[in-house]
Amino acid sequence: MIKLVYFAWVRERIGRPEETVTLPADVKTVSDLIAWLKTRGEEYAYAFEQAPLIRAAIDKVHVKHDAAIADAREIAFFPPMTGG
């Protein structure tokens, strides 16, 4: 069981701010997770259509897509940041 959280237009496209999922055993990295999410429905396919642009964080720390999920409790997906 892992918590997924979404922000900005990733959240809007998926249609929810967060969800808790059980990952298949072969989902080892952030890339794997994105690929798996895209199979779950049109809204995910749309949110991740330009997957390389999407940023990820594991337990509130920025990570690259090749990062191992390992014992993550919370994984976040969001567009490039535009604060400041």
Binding site: F7, K60, V61, T82
Partner: protein, 152 residues
Amino acid sequence: MFSIRVQSDDFDIASEQKRLCEGRTDIGAVVTFTGLCRDEAGALTALELEHYPGMAEEEMTRVLEKARQRWPLDGATLIHRHGKIAPGGNIVLVVTASRHRKAAFAAAEFLMDYLKTHAPFWKKEHRKDGTSGGWVEAKHADDQALEKWSGA
């Protein structure tokens, strides 16, 4: 004193600067940067700032730590607002205090470059015609600005 805050309330630069400097005589230079809600075309009612609660604070703390490792700072404050902000309103504040002006300037600019690209905040436009102008796009220039800090 070093602190970060994420808040919907407005901030006052004079109080923040005073808080850093009060009762001290070892600070020679204080730099503030205020980022404002800009609306050149006059088309916006507000920018809405969404953030990732928890991570925003953690990332701002990490960015501040990086700056402290790099420059001899005597104090620094980072404040980032969230929620709807009208044109002309304050969005972000960086205050850096140091014995030396070069350190205060460089650290403030570094902190802003990192906040722009690392702090989990996103801007959405709300337009006067009632439509959403959509999400503000990240600027390539902001990523480029970071390169300045990658040597040394």
